[in-house]
């Protein structure tokens, strides 16, 4: 769902009576009002109009009708971190969580109940049962392991939910395409968890590039994770008996992936590095850094057309090239950055580099940072995307404008991840057609764009 495909404001004639954005001079329209009016305007559904908060005299509290009802799917360690960002949002009410592991749902319930001071958070185990039962839920936080991100998001969007999905948000090109298609079909808001797109220092770097202050940019550099390899494991850990009391639904945990015997290590996070569950050291950070680079250079609707194989186990030094000649180079290690998930943009008149832990970007000339605060303010004003990734998502849920990390951006940057991985696995240079979304003259590479999913967990 690229922004260009959606009606984003005045001047768009298509379905203007359903325009979700706030037009000049018109009162704000809530998500529920919007859905109700859209359906009613078609003469097909009757949905009651909502009473505005001001009429209820709620003294700043967000009335229930204006709240976003949130649920969780597979909220574990990382998910709890995201949930900690989400819970303080006053217009959000987290009501239920679903997990194949009982202990994880219990921890989420404890955290949520402690936050609200009640015992209301409901736990579920079966994802399909959860989605069918909770039509009151507006949006879902999907923070399963990588193997489930796309399918869970697709199932959630088909059930009418908006989705915030952790990254890497798809395991294959085919999964990414289906996320895009489903979000578009049901006009769902979707945000992938590339939260650096909503951080000021990374935004400054992107804006320096976008506004031409680095001159003509010829090379962008993207950090890949310093653990695991591009080569993936296919071995099985030793079989162990399932834990007592049905604590883990192993079939659901595996989801669409090939069956393998249970081992506790997998469900404790040890799934990383396995081909069935992970997208390698390239996907681990590339899901972030490729997205950063592709947003910066305006390549959110395409992917590189060339991938150069490097004879090492990790992909370090791989040069990818976009159709316009822009190079994106993959780097592992600390040659360019002192922190994690770094990006660096190099132009004819300067460079900028930024990573986690930096108080501000490194630049070729300090003058580039003199107006950083204004640069960020201008970005927020221009795009409407705020410097909080979860808030940006909730704003989009209400306004129905695409979030900053929308499905097309996710799919195209993850396609770069998948193509780089395939290049490493097949150990040869690759050419990719981002329009047809296929490798050129390489049937074996094309076969790796999708994987048959295990029933019943099929897209």
């Amino acid at each position: 769902m690229s922004p260009s495909r959606l009606c984003r404001g005045a001047g768009c004639s298509a379905s203007s009576s359903f325009r979700p954005t706030q037009a000049a001079g018109c009162p704000p329209v809530t998500r529920r009002q919007f859905l109700g009016r859209a359906a009613t305007a078609g003469g097909l559904v009757t949905v009651p109009y909502l009473v505005p908060a001001s009429a209820l005299g709620l003294n700043g509290e967000v009335p229930p009708n204006e709240r976003i009802v949130l649920g969780g799917l597979g909220v574990g360690n990382r998910g709890s971190g995201v949930l900690r960002w989400m819970l303080p949002e006053k217009d959000v009410q987290f009501v239920a969580t679903c997990d194949a592991q009982t202990s994880r749902s219990a921890r989420v319930k404890q955290m949520v109940d402690a936050h609200y001071g009640n015992t209301d958070c409901v736990t579920y185990r079966d994802m399909r049962e959860f989605l069918a039962a909770r039509d009151d839920i507006d949006a879902l936080l999907v923070t399963t392991g990588d193997r489930w991100h796309a399918l869970a998001s697709i199932m959630a969007m088909r059930a009418g939910k908006d989705v915030y999905s952790e990254k890497p948000s798809c395991m294959t090109v085919a999964e990414g395409q289906t996320v895009v298609e489903t979000a578009k079909r049901f006009r769902r808001i979707y945000q992938t968890g590339t939260q650096r797109l909503s951080e000021a220092k990374f935004t400054v770097a992107n804006e320096l590039l976008r506004t031409g202050r680095l001159g003509k940019v010829h090379t962008v550099r993207a950090h890949i994770a310093p653990w695991d390899a591009a080569e993936m494991r296919h071995d099985w850990l030793p079989a162990q008996p399932l834990p007592p009391d049905n604590q883990v639904d192993w079939d659901q945990w595996l989801g669409p992936c090939p069956w393998r015997p249970y081992n506790e290590s997998y469900v404790r996070g040890g799934w990383r590095g396995f081909y069935d569950f992970h997208t390698s050291c390239i996907g681990e950070w590339g899901a972030h850094t490729f997205a950063q680079c592709q947003v910066a250079i305006g390549a959110v609707d395409t992917s590189p057309v060339e991938y150069g194989y490097v004879d090492n186990p990790t992909g370090d030094g791989m040069v990818t090239r976009f159709a316009d000649g822009m190079e994106m180079v993959l780097h592992r290690g600390d040659k360019y950055w002192r922190g994690s998930c770094g990006v660096r943009y190099e132009g004819t008149e300067g460079w900028v580099a930024v990573a986690d832990g930096y108080p501000k970007p490194d630049v070729s000339d300090p003058a580039l940072l003199e107006d950083s605060e204004q640069v960020v303010r201008d970005y927020v004003e221009r795009t409407g995307h705020v410097m909080s990734h979860v808030r940006d998502f909730f704003n989009s849920v209400k306004s129905r404008r695409p979030a900053v990390a929308h499905p097309e951006m996710m799919h195209r940057s993850m396609t770069t991840v998948h193509a780089a991985n395939i290049c490493m696995w097949l150990k040869r240079d690759m050419k990719y057609d981002p329009v047809k979304e296929e490798f050129l003259d390489d049937p074996e590479a094309n076969r790796l764009r999708s994987r048959a999913q295990r029933a019943p967990w099929i897209m």
């Binding site: 859905l35 859209a38 078609g42 494991r233 696995w425 029933a455």
Partner: protein, 235 residues
């Protein structure tokens, strides 16, 4: 003080682990892509008494390099509870009509999850010849099977599939209806993309009139408007 020392030691150990992980990537545990010349060996593995894991790995490799030669060996595995998914894993990307025929044949032999998997693969392969059999399965008493048949028809998305979905939309059980509606919307999108806005509009309209959750009717309403506008432009 003691705590600080402990924390420092822990940090050093953690750093060492991270550095070691970086220096010693997990090589040697992968299943390397096979060369086309190795197809015969992989087929032999599937015909042998080797353990399940080795057969599953052979299927992974055939998924990349397999040819129609492997199809007769993979076909019976579709009926094997433990290997059915991996047989599909290998078959799904192999080009050629023999795979489609094999999957269609399996439709008549399988039930439950194995059948659901095969229906998924038929959809991925866009096998139009499977449409008549898929249409019948929309009435299957097992909702999971009926939903999978609808999903496959939505991916095939030809006129015949669209017609069947539209016809069944009002009569399938409520548990199956959303899957039929989703597939109907997919067909409508395909028709719109193929510059057949009139036919697309008819499909969208059928979804707006069906008893479905609100988001389906909203999606169909948008589609209907788009299709009508496209039809108007064509006049």
């Amino acid at each position: 003080m003691c705590n600080r020392k402990t924390s420092f030691c822990l940090a050093v150990v953690l750093l060492a682990v991270v550095l070691l992980a970086g220096a010693l990537p997990l090589r040697g545990q992968t299943v390397p892509p096979a060369t086309p010349e190795e197809e015969g060996k992989l087929i032999a593995v599937l015909l042998s008494d080797t353990p399940l894991k080795a057969k599953m790995d052979a299927c992974r490799q055939l998924a990349v390099i397999g040819t129609p030669k492997a199809v007769p060996v993979l076909a019976p595995l579709l009926e094997d509870e433990k290997l059915s998914h991996m047989a599909r894993y290998a078959l799904e990307p192999i080009p050629g009509a023999s795979v489609d025929q094999t999957l269609r044949d399996a439709m008549g032999k399988l039930k439950g999850r194995l059948l659901v998997g095969v229906l998924g693969s038929i959809g991925v392969r866009h096998d139009a010849k499977a449409v008549p059999a898929l249409m019948k399965m929309l009435d299957d008493p097992d909702p999971e099977t009926a939903r999978a048949a609808a999903g496959a028809l939505g991916k095939i998305a030809n006129a015949e599939a669209a017609g069947a979905l539209r016809e069944k939309l009002g009569s399938v059980p409520p548990k199956v209806r959303p899957a039929v509606a989703d597939a109907t919307l997919a067909c409508a999108e395909a028709l719109l993309a193929a510059d057949k806005p009139g036919e697309a509009a008819a499909l969208y309209e059928s979804v707006t009139k069906a008893e479905l959750p609100k988001h389906f009717r909203v999606a169909a309403t948008y589609g209907l408007i788009q299709a009508r506008q496209a039809a108007e432009k064509k006049k």
